[in-house]
């Protein structure tokens, strides 16, 4: 996993609630056995007309949103299936962070495991960002160390993140390596509870 420290990037907003993982990456693309290459299928049914031509009305396709790295959306983002292909696709497309008033639990976790930062902000802050993101060159800066997200015209908020997850993200650590440091506890547990 790549460490996440400070990121500054262009913002794109999709003003919808309950964007589910079937929408983020439709199931026909789950059949691959690799982890990469999902970006071109991100939001497939919204992004393409007839699967080939770009839908000019979809937010990601507007020329001014090209190269956006921060996605802002409404409540309950990432609900539905547990497919990790959803964060893989967002990341592969180029997103580094997703901002919403709330996230589905499994999706939220899956993001953290892949170094894609999910940020919960109050609903009115998200509304504000959705509004601002209509400007072509709107950018936000995220400092994970300070747990802060801000722009250059005075928007400045802190956000919550579990301190343990934060450390893993800052350092870009592999969680399995970390768990192996506790192997003696696992062995002990297995002996004690006779899961043998």
């Amino acid at each position: 996993m790549q460490p996440f420290t400070v990121h500054k990037g262009k913002v794109v907003g999709i003003d919808r609630a309950n964007i589910d993982t079937d929408q983020i990456i439709p199931k026909q693309f789950l059949k691959r056995i690799e982890r990469t290459g999902f970006g071109k299928f991100l939001f497939y049914d919204w992004r393409y007309l007839d699967g080939q031509i770009l839908n000019p009305h979809f937010e990601l396709n507007r020329p001014e949103n090209e190269g956006a790295t921060i996605l802002v959306a409404n409540e309950n983002f990432g609900c539905g299936s547990s497919r990790e292909h959803a964060p893989w696709a967002l990341q592969d497309y180029g997103f580094q962070a997703v901002v919403a008033p709330s996230f589905a639990d499994i999706f939220y976790n899956n993001c953290l495991k892949n170094g894609l930062l999910p940020i919960r902000l109050a609903k009115h802050d998200v509304e504000y960002l959705l509004h601002k993101s209509k400007r072509a060159d709107y950018e936000l800066t995220i400092s994970l160390e300070e747990q802060r997200i801000y722009d250059e015209s005075g928007f400045n908020r802190t956000f919550e993140i579990d301190s343990y997850r934060k450390q893993l993200l800052l350092k870009g650590w592999d969680e399995i390596d970390l768990t192996f440091m506790y192997e003696s506890y696992i062995e002990e547990y297995e002996k004690k509870t006779l899961v043998i």
């Binding site: 003003d15 919808r16 609630a17 309950n18 589910d20 079937d22 929408q23 439709p26 199931k27 026909q28 789950l30 059949k31 691959r32 056995i33 690799e34 982890r35 049914d45 409404n74 409540e75 309950n76 609900c79 539905g80 299936s81 547990s82 497919r83 990790e84 292909h85 964060p87 709330s102 589905a104 639990d105 499994i106 976790n109 899956n110 495991k113 892949n114 579990d162 301190s163 343990y164 969680e175 399995i176 768990t179 192996f180 506790y182 192997e183 506890y185 696992i186 547990y189 297995e190 509870t193 899961v195």
Partner: protein
Amino acid sequence: MKPKTIIEKVWEHHVVYREAGKPDLLYIDLHLVHEVTSPQAFEGLRQKGRKVRRPDLTFATMDHNVPTVNRFVIEDEIARNQIAALEKNCREFSIPLADLHSSEQGIVHVIGPELGLTQPGKTIVCGDSHTSTHGAFGALAFGIGTSEVEHVLATQTLWQQRPKTLEIRINGRLSDGVTAKDVILAIIHQYGVDVGTGYIIEFTGDVIRQMSMEERMTICNMSIEAGARAGLISPDDTTFEYLRGRKYAPKGEDFEKAVEQWQMLATDEGATYDRTLEIDAASIAPMVTWGTTPGMSAPINGKVPYPEDFADETEQKAVQLALQYMGLEPGTPISEMKIQHVFIGSCTNSRISDLRAAAEIVKGKRVAPGVRALVVPGSQEVKRRAEEEGLAQIFIEAGFEWRDSGCSMCLGMNPDIVPEGEHCASTSNRNFEGRQGKGARTHLVSPKMAAAAAIYGRFVDIRKLQAESIGERR
């Protein structure tokens, strides 16, 4: 001792390591694996030269990609690769696999309980959000992503932040014709698709106690549609009797000993939850979804709402988009919504009791002209039983297609899809845009409601049907 909920009991029992400021490291008793969310996890193990710590606590099957007409001819090359990858991975890492030739194959959440792998008090995970189904047995069961699949394969543990607890109590008695599916749809309708976010739900109350294991599974299955990663039910005699004699359940004296342990799991009198919600069973009618989230539903005698019926602006917009996608006019009575497809199947409602309930409605009738109707049993075992009991014959004579087991039209990752713009009465759990195929319009209902929709080509109130057929018999 302080009274505890089953959630706390199971959690505490599985803590391998705890330190302030960190999630708990939890031991996993059963890891279920399927072909879609596992290939990248096995690949990760291989790249780092890691082993599967406990292949004996791991069990795999194939369900999502499997064709339900001729399972051995998988046209789609990438799907075929994924199935082949699972076979190879299971062989290489010595993981038991119910493959396409196995009499035990089926949807992962159907076969776990059927084989007795699912047991009270276990921690159960699977790279699939409907793992919550197994909570019906008093197990702590939740869906995980592929990175977590890899983590469990390598370590048999997971780092987990302890969620809050939510009790949903279902009081009173259900009316005739109202099923477990209607109960969970009504809960989600009343409290919203994110009521469970950050919680584990325990379902309690008289209605739950009277339910069979299969009905309880339907309820827990859709906990995730209420936003909760896990939903469970304290085990009781119904649970133990279901498990007696199952292949992987303890046998003889061991079984009696296990029951003694399991009995201690139920939530103690006086235990408290972070939040409690109640619902009156008598107020629940057969439900039909009209929109694109499982919360967008109405009772069969209701109407498709107007966006203006909702106070919140985001919600108004969501309703507008949903109606547009579904091609529905606000104000349309639910019973006038027409359907062209019927799907009876999925891990929510493809067990033997679901098929019995549907067959009861279908018996002696014909599928309406212009309707294509499918019955897809949840497992090969369910299929065999339904054939023995004559249910398959009832469906076939009525004009249903009788299929092999798999996820099928629940998510259309296999050849079974609903064509663009057409409506499907479906016993599955998700009505998201494109879930059953691009542009497909899904209406979630119970097996009885789906069966009746097949006969009439639109939604009908099965409470009236049942009353009529009782009248006829007299």
